[in-house]
């Protein structure tokens, strides 16, 4: 048993000056999928449904003239565009700050960048960072709601939510019925470069909350055994064919060459064991839903035939991104007065 925080009574001054890393996180933030309760997941899914159906002119009033900053330290196509379209669909003003065209290049810290955006009137910041945990730092520095658009190898919670929406649509399950047992009996295999994947982590933390079993699949170099200890309902397997045989849902991940850090992989061997090819899918998972968060590397983790085939949900996933991100923005900003702390 490690030492725990003191129970010594604190003076009021102590309570009012917690250290930087003890600062509270705005409750409208979405930083880790692990923090969502089942009820919260249900509310987000229902909100996404409602916002998607809503008259665009009424919808455009919901966050009219609210200021949303997109702070992107890594490149992105899907996530950035869909957050931006979501914010605009709700009437918000958006601004994009990316590392190549800002003072970040001059060495400005994340904390100072956050404070600057806040001073410019940003009420919510959407952050993508190559550093795991960066959204906490930004949330602690500004007190603003922070939406995590991907942090290092850690998490990508909006992706996990849009993946969940895609899965529920495929299974014909309505958002209003979502609960802790909704995905009982459903096995989801996530295959590929799990080690470097924030999508895998967020899905592995989210889907078991609704009763799903998650099989993480890949070679030891890209998937340590300790991954299974991440949370309940998670298994590690090296046998893709066997995992496919049990799965209604299959998520393929690309190998993240930019994060391999010197790791050597035999790519032919990798393809032969873990590629989603037409033959393999036909043989082991002919009725499963095939997902991929993108970007896809055709011919590596997935063949063109499978990516473009009838089982593929890749385009549907991207489509669902806008509705989910609208729901997260409304959650972050609705009911919150302009301004925020500081």
């Amino acid at each position: 048993m490690a030492l725990t925080r003191a129970t010594v009574r604190k003076t009021p001054q102590e309570i009012s000056t917690p250290s930087f890393f003890q600062q509270p996180i705005h409750p409208g933030s979405a930083i880790t999928a692990g923090d969502f309760s089942v009820a919260e997941v249900k509310r987000i899914l229902e909100s996404a449904d409602a916002l998607e159906k809503e008259n665009p002119f009424r919808r455009g009033d919901r966050l009219a003239k609210r200021r949303v900053a997109l702070l992107f330290y890594e490149s992105s196509t899907r996530t950035r565009t869909s957050f931006e379209l979501a914010a605009k669909a709700l009437g918000a003003d958006t601004t994009l700050v990316s590392s190549l065209s800002s003072s970040i290049e001059k060495g400005e810290s994340l904390k100072d960048t956050g404070i600057t955006l806040q001073a410019l009137g940003a009420e919510c910041i959407i952050l993508r960072s190559p550093y795991s945990g960066a959204p906490y730092l930004l949330a602690q520095a500004t007190g603003l709601p922070v939406l995590n658009a991907g942090d290092g190898m850690a998490e990508h919670p909006s992706q996990a939510l849009l993946d969940l929406r895609t899965i529920l649509q495929f299974l014909g399950i309505r958002s209003s019925t979502v609960g802790a047992k909704t995905l009982n009996g459903v096995t989801v295999t996530i295959c590929g470069d799990i080690l470097h994947s924030r999508v895998a982590r967020s899905n592995a933390l989210l889907l078991p909350k609704l009763g799903a079993k998650v099989i993480l699949c890949g070679p030891p170099e890209l998937l340590p055994e300790s991954a299974a200890a991440m949370g309940p309902g998670i298994l590690v397997s090296r046998d893709f064919d066997a995992a496919l045989g049990q799965s209604k849902i299959v998520m393929m991940l690309r190998i993240q060459a930019e994060r391999l850090a010197g790791l050597q992989l035999d790519l032919d061997e990798y393809r032969s064991r873990y590629q989603a090819s037409a033959d393999r899918i036909a043989q082991h998972a002919p009725r499963a839903l095939l997902m991929h968060p993108g970007p896809i590397i055709r011919g590596m983790e997935i063949t063109a035939e499978v990516a473009d085939g009838p089982q593929s949900a890749i385009a549907q996933q991207v489509h669902n991104g806008v509705a989910i991100r609208m729901a997260l923005l409304v959650r972050a900003l609705a009911g919150v007065k302009k301004g925020g702390r500081r």
């Binding site: 490690a2 030492l3 604190k10 904390k111 924030r198 991954a227 991440m230 949370g231």
Partner: protein
Amino acid sequence: MKPLLIRGGRVVDPESGLDAPRDVLLRDGKIAAIENPGQIKAPGAEVFNAKGLVVATGLIDIHVHLREPGQGYKETIASGTAAAAAGGFTTVCAMPNTIPVNDTPEITRWMQTSERGASIRVFPIAAATRGSMGEILTEYSALKEAGAVAVTDDGRPILGDAIMLEALRAAAQQGLPVIQHAEDTRLTGGCSMNAGALAFRLGLRGMPVEAESGLVERDISLLRKVKNGHLHVAHLSTAKALDAVRDARRQGLHVTCEVTPHHFALTEERIGRYDTDAKMNPPLRGESDRAAMIEGLLDGTVDAIATDHAPHAAHEKEQEFDRAPNGITGLETALGLSLQVLHVRYKMPMAKVLALLSSRPARALGLTGRGSLAPGSPADVLVFDPREKWAFRAADSRSKSKNTPFDGWEMQGRVRLTVSEGRTVFRRD
């Protein structure tokens, strides 16, 4: 300087086995007398009433980073030793990873001059290789002559087999220990915490325990080839490395080691939401390694509690976890944590706790004359209230930096008086 009579305290001196009510007289910078209560007559002496308090030899920290020369914005020798005095220390050994690296007799001497404003004794530890680059040995005899008490490249390991062997041989000739920062950096590139399930979940790269134990095992095998060699393992943090030290000692090799308070008080769970005040190297480990540190302290395998006091400015720590520098401050929390964890929770006798913070580290690094209350020794004395529980507040620290994971934590035992070579350097009434 007026003589000081510390009256009515419980004197605990592990070196002589004394643990009884005694009066202690300090005169001319030395321990002048220790006698039964009321026996010392010292007219004109200042009197400190130590009733209900413990009187012990000043604490000795053999592993601190005082950041001078070069990084005075983090700490200076003056501010670091002021923090040390507040923590009950009267001697610290300063690591050489300054800017420039302390690899010359000039810097070693510069650190000890009175202009630095040290409130307590500072013994420099010099670099084992030039610039701590791991290639060419420094001049051990000249460094020793200038006052260095050991050599190390701390902050990084002495990695190459050949250069480590050379260092052990050259140091043995001078009677100096080689202090190893045991980290096989070939296994820890880009890593910022302990390897395992938590690192995986947080999406951080982890340092395997083998990166530490492997290098300790390698060093022990090199030590076998060296006559009168002495290896000291800095900030040991894994059960595996501790086992290697234990085995080597059984075989009669001169291997000593130190453990930090944070490695016996905390586990990697303290990282929480990427709190960089829990980022240090070696990293906080899992519960089984933490428990092994306790075991090693209890069974005597561990020679010293050393803080690895490593101050950093707020703007350096308030960064993304991977980007923040390693290290935490520790001089003002070492005694309180050691008593809280080892004495209160694990029932280690008070004398044994104090020995781990004074006489045993002094012996490990050969700091002759330090770490004892024997008459004639330097008047390095600590008086503390063993019963007082208090909450440590980083904001009140005398260090220039506040990077501690123990802000707001309960401490057991509070320093009331620190005397360094006869001078009162800290007092809380």
